[in-house]
Amino acid sequence: MTVEVEVGERTRTVILERLAPGRFRVTLDGRPCEVDVIRTAEFGLSLLLDGASGRSREMLVAPGGERGVVFVNLEGRTIAVGINRGRSRRSVDGAPGAGEQVIVAPMPGRVVRLLVRPGDQVAARQGVVVVEAMKMENELRTARPGTVKEIAVAPGASVEAGRVLVVVA
């Protein structure tokens, strides 16, 4: 079985060949190694790597919010990893170029205040809307300068995560 895995900036090709129950030959970008794997809980994996040396590492892998994404927890850090998503699905959100910025609610909450009006010029990292969640007011900011094109919510509105709040062109 061949699995395409997106970690960080790169897409890696992982070929798995089962040698025995729980034992695999894993070929990562052309380099083979032997791995012993066992599930330690619903999401836990214990890996013994490098053959005889038995280098032991553990991690948690759980489904992410969207299809083809899993969250991997390794020593206190959680990383989103793409599985078999193909190169076409690469995210472009981080691109620093021009284009429309859609400011969405990053978590469920309540819109407290709007800090801009349609047509306003905004600078990079300027606050445009304040959303309250978990008792804290969170100011959401632009990434780049632009002009406010649309205000999609009213103060006081309850919003779900992902709801479009402000569009900056």
Partner: protein
Amino acid sequence: MKILIANRGEIAVRVIRACREMGIPTVAVFSDCDRGARHVSEADQAIHVGPSEATRSYLDIGALLEAARRSEATAVHPGYGFLAENAAFASACLEAGLMYIGPAPEAIALMGSKTAARQAARRAGVPVVPGTDEPFGPDVSEREIAAAAEEVGYPLLVKAVAGGGGKGLRVVSHRGDLPSAIQLARSEAGAAFGDSQIYLERRILQPRHVEIQLLGDARGTVVPFVERECSIQRRHQKVVEESPSPVVTPALRRRMAEAAASVARLVGYTNAGTIEFLLDRDGAFYFLEMNTRLQVEHPVTEMVTSIDLVQWQIRISRGEALDVDPERALTPHGHAIECRIYAEDPDQGFLPSPGLIRALRPAGGPGIRDDSGVAAGYTVPVHYDSLIAKLVAWASARDEAVARMARALREYHVLGIRTTIPFFLWLLRQPAFLEARFDTNYLDALLAERQGATFSELEPGEEDLVAIGAALDAWLRAGGAGDNGRRAVERVSAWHRLARRESLRE
């Protein structure tokens, strides 16, 4: 005695633990979204008090008193936050014939008003940070406040009279920013505390936040404890606390402890409380405020003194004499550090990260204490504070406690929601932190420098490991044919197998 805990989350669990150790039955309260919360299942009884909105459940005095009546509780522990510093709630408990595990309502009202507390500190001969002593109500104009600001001097802080935890607090460096700061502080304070009164305070440059825990009993005995260092703050919210402070000498400790005790004695304070001070570069300290409740960070004090503060709260309320050895309370044994694990995503500007906890494995082992309010399968609600657990490390010296904390943070697995664990792993490597060279502005300045860089960076070798693990996980999930025998935990539960066997028998 039966204690109703008018709170939720980790602090409710903490109080239940103290009660269990003392053989006292407990009653938990819960809102709609907290039915599955840990404090509910760990208490002896649990009573539903209302919808998820805090104002209609954990802040609803009538509903809480009704729960106490129905459960035949005889005492109420308020925890921290919610109604913990609400004099009306304390009074209502007493009027309903319940014991209130905390100070007298009069002390809460007096010290809860930051401006009245400053006046009390002055009367006790303790220096206070320069600022306005009269609160500004909602009807006071921005122009009037601006005039007072000129006398206080910039930079200054706009603070909620009823404030706490950084809520309703704004820093103003330039005159022009004052109006928006007043507006934000008023609205945040109104929403969080139901009181939008504010006051102004001069900003002490490069201060450390050092506080003195104390206990007082009904006979007038006041015992101050070794200080806590709480200078590691993000946007005025404490994130790491330790005891003792790396910069407080035994002589300074005695002076601060005596100052704190004299304020408490002056107001006839009983039960647990904390006096917060700012300590400037030259070792001068100023009264900041008093918290008339148990603090979030009380465990570090417990770890270095081996004195259980929650049990003492209960004993004092029962009228017992405070017979804690003052020398033991003031002499730290070893060093303790606490990291507040919040359901926040440090890689996205610490935005709240509520949701389902799919997997959780807390840290353990020597010198580790995990005060947690959550479990796997619980959905962290959007309605409340995002603190899910406090991880405390104790060791004989500070550097050992830091190393132990880093070890424990690596052990601590939380999956499903984002937490501040990766941020702490980064912070614990910073040279200034390791050398204890910091003030209350340190963390915000350090975070600003990073310009939002991720804390969850993988090293090159780790990327390989993650790729291999994720691929193997996909294989196992896609069927994992023939490998069931190698699974330590099978998907088919023992109950299913039993049911299957039973049906075959028929």
